[in-house]
């Protein structure tokens, strides 16, 4: 089983590493990170430390990583079915679960490679120009970014298994992108005011509202960063104003992200297993 998964993962890596979107977004990562470091602060000139760079990049990463992961994932299965190569692959002694896992790992490596290249290159250049660089925080930042990227890759692959047309899978991936990056904030705030649960006198938010952060991987990612990288905690308005409730801790947020990663992947295996090709 493992050799087939590795073989499929290797093929996915070779096939996708030359994907023009991956190359464009990796170059964008490097450029933006360097730009954020050099011109990211309005209070000073020249190269900024990684803390300042991360605080600028944190917001951009949400968009870029989500896009890149969904691009890689949404066509992984349905793209091959529409093209016709899935017929041949499934006529071989390979199980459908092996194909899903092989694709997930292969595309996951492509995604990780893009993140490491983008942030790694920028990190090295910044390291040469700035003293007292906190590399541990930067590594946490990169690790969390890879994790949230894998979550969206998993969602993308699930959508790819779910729909019968590539265009429908793409449409649903765009919807997922807008839901989690833009619409979510409006929905939960609207919900809060609709239920009238915001206690303005005591400036406290209800637990259910804070727990909703677990249901959006991007929110969970932001909380994970702000809990572990002090310079990024400043960005979290809710954290500063109201403080996080006890259940919003690193362990729980990590568990939420891992569940976000595993659930769509398991569902993808189940849907694909029962799918007519």
């Amino acid at each position: 089983m493992l050799d087939i998964i590795i073989n499929i993962a290797k093929k996915e890596f070779i096939d996708n590493i030359r994907n023009k979107w991956i190359i464009i977004i990796t170059i964008l990562f490097i450029s933006l990170t360097l730009l954020a470091s050099y011109a990211g602060s309005i209070y000073s000139e020249g190269w900024q430390d990684l803390g300042s760079t991360m605080s600028v990049m944190g917001g951009l990463v949400n968009f870029l990583i989500t896009i890149i992961a969904l691009i890689l994932g949404y066509s992984a299965i349905i793209g091959e079915i529409e093209k016709g190569s899935m017929d041949s692959l499934l006529s071989l002694p390979a199980k459908r679960i092996e194909i899903i896992l092989g694709k997930f790992f292969g595309l996951g490596i492509v995604l990780t490679f893009a993140i490491l290249t983008g942030f790694g290159t920028a990190g090295i250049i910044i390291g040469f120009n700035v003293h007292n660089v906190n590399y541990v925080e930067y590594l946490i930042f990169i690790g969390a970014t890879i994790l949230v990227g894998l979550v969206f890759l998993s969602i993308g692959i699930f959508l790819s298994c779910l729909f019968r047309k590539r265009s429908t899978a793409m449409g649903s991936a765009i919807l997922v992108f807008f839901l989690f990056t833009i619409l979510w904030r409006f929905i939960v705030v609207a919900l809060l005011f609709f239920i009238n649960a915001f206690d303005i006198k005591n400036a406290t938010l209800p637990d259910w509202y804070l727990a909703l952060n677990f249901f959006n991987p991007i929110n969970a990612y932001e909380i994970l960063l702000s809990l572990n990288i002090p310079s990024l905690a400043m960005q979290q308005v809710e954290a500063i104003t109201f403080g996080y409730t006890s259940f919003l801790n690193t362990t729980n947020v990590l568990i939420a992200l891992i569940l976000w990663l595993l659930t769509p992947l398991i569902l993808a295996c189940w849907v694909f297993k029962n799918k007519d090709i």
Binding site: D3, I4, N7, K11, I14, D15, R18, K83, G84, S85, D87, S88, L89, L90, S91, L92, P93, A94, K95, N274, D276, I277
Partner: protein, 313 residues
């Protein structure tokens, strides 16, 4: 023990028993059963939308069947999927590869899953005239080259069962002959071939038996000769004489077993039983006829196909 259709015995490698597949409430394949014997070339024919692809996809386990049983070399395609597929080489109607990978990278990817060596891949690439382009991306290949690469993918590892869906599609005449020869060669080496094609002459030339599917129902399965007999299709003789007399025509009319006589200038076209052919020649000779040219046309698969499918192609 005699072979009972629908039961797998030691001489059969493909068993399809009571196969039914329903799409949106409509039966795409309706309770069909057949076996393909070890070492035979079995042609699978039918008009567009008759259920050929559904049957092939069911045999390969690509779609969930609603009822029935499918076995490849005694392995159930659903219960022992991996073992069943180890015996299969498949060429789909729409051959596709990974365009960003080279021909060799593509083949090695499939070869690793099939546990086939790199040497065999290289040797097959040479044999099929793709030796010079092994490091070129498949995205730059012509349709014929992709088809040949697809054939290599299907036959690598010398599978027990070859399932070929329109193998001549997109090939030039040289490529068609090459593929046909390869099919015969593989068959001689022991591979069983299940082939679906629109080129009926090709099927008639290489197949031992054929199955004809129409509107989801398997309407016929046998040798072309046996099916012709069942349909009472007879050979046509075309006899050219130096001179045709009334006596010759009258004596031919007296022969039993002749269905049709047609005279065109110095040629007599006769439709008759196979056994009557010799009698006709002897009668003409006795009546003083001098035969210049004689041609016999056996019933074609095309006629059989049209009769069984009601003229649908």
């Amino acid at each position: 023990m005699s072979l009972i259709e629908g039961n797998l015995d030691e001489t059969s490698v493909i068993l399809v028993k009571d196969l039914t597949k329903i799409y949106n409430g409509k039966k795409a394949v309706d309770n069909i059963s057949f076996t393909v014997k070890k070492g035979e070339i079995f042609g699978f024919l039918g008009p567009n939308g008759a259920g050929k692809t559904t049957t092939i996809k069911s045999i390969l386990g690509l779609i969930k069947i609603d009822s029935g049983e499918i076995k490849i070399n005694d392995f159930d395609i659903r219960k022992a999927e991996k073992n069943a597929k180890k015996n299969i080489g498949y060429l789909p109607e729409k051959v596709a590869f990974y365009d960003n990978l080279t021909a060799l990278q593509n083949l090695l990817f499939y070869a690793k899953i099939k546990k086939v060596s790199k040497e065999e891949c290289l040797s097959l690439l040479e044999e099929f005239g793709l030796g010079d382009v092994i490091n070129k991306k498949v995205g730059t290949f012509s349709k014929g080259m992709v088809q040949r690469l697809g054939m290599i993918r299907a036959i690598m590892g010398w599978p027990l069962v070859l399932i070929l869906d329109e193998p001549s599609s997109g090939l030039d005449p040289r490529g068609v002959i090459q593929i046909r020869n390869k099919i015969k060669e593989l068959n001689q080496k022991g591979s069983t071939v299940f082939i679906s094609s629109h080129i009926l002459s090709e099927i008639q030339e290489i197949c031992d038996r054929v199955g004809i599917i129409n509107k989801g129902v398997l309407v016929a399965k046998d040798t072309v000769t046996a099916l012709s007999k069942k349909l009472n299709l007879k050979p046509q003789m075309s006899i050219e004489l130096d001179e045709i007399s009334d006596e010759i025509i009258k004596s031919i009319h007296d022969i039993k077993g002749i269905d049709k006589i047609e005279v065109k200038e110095k040629t007599i076209n006769i439709v008759c039983d196979s056994e009557t052919k010799a009698k006709v020649i002897l009668t003409i000779a006795k009546a003083g006829g001098n035969i210049i040219n004689l041609q016999t046309q056996e019933p074609s698969l095309e006629e059989v196909f049209i009769r069984y499918t009601g003229g649908e192609v």
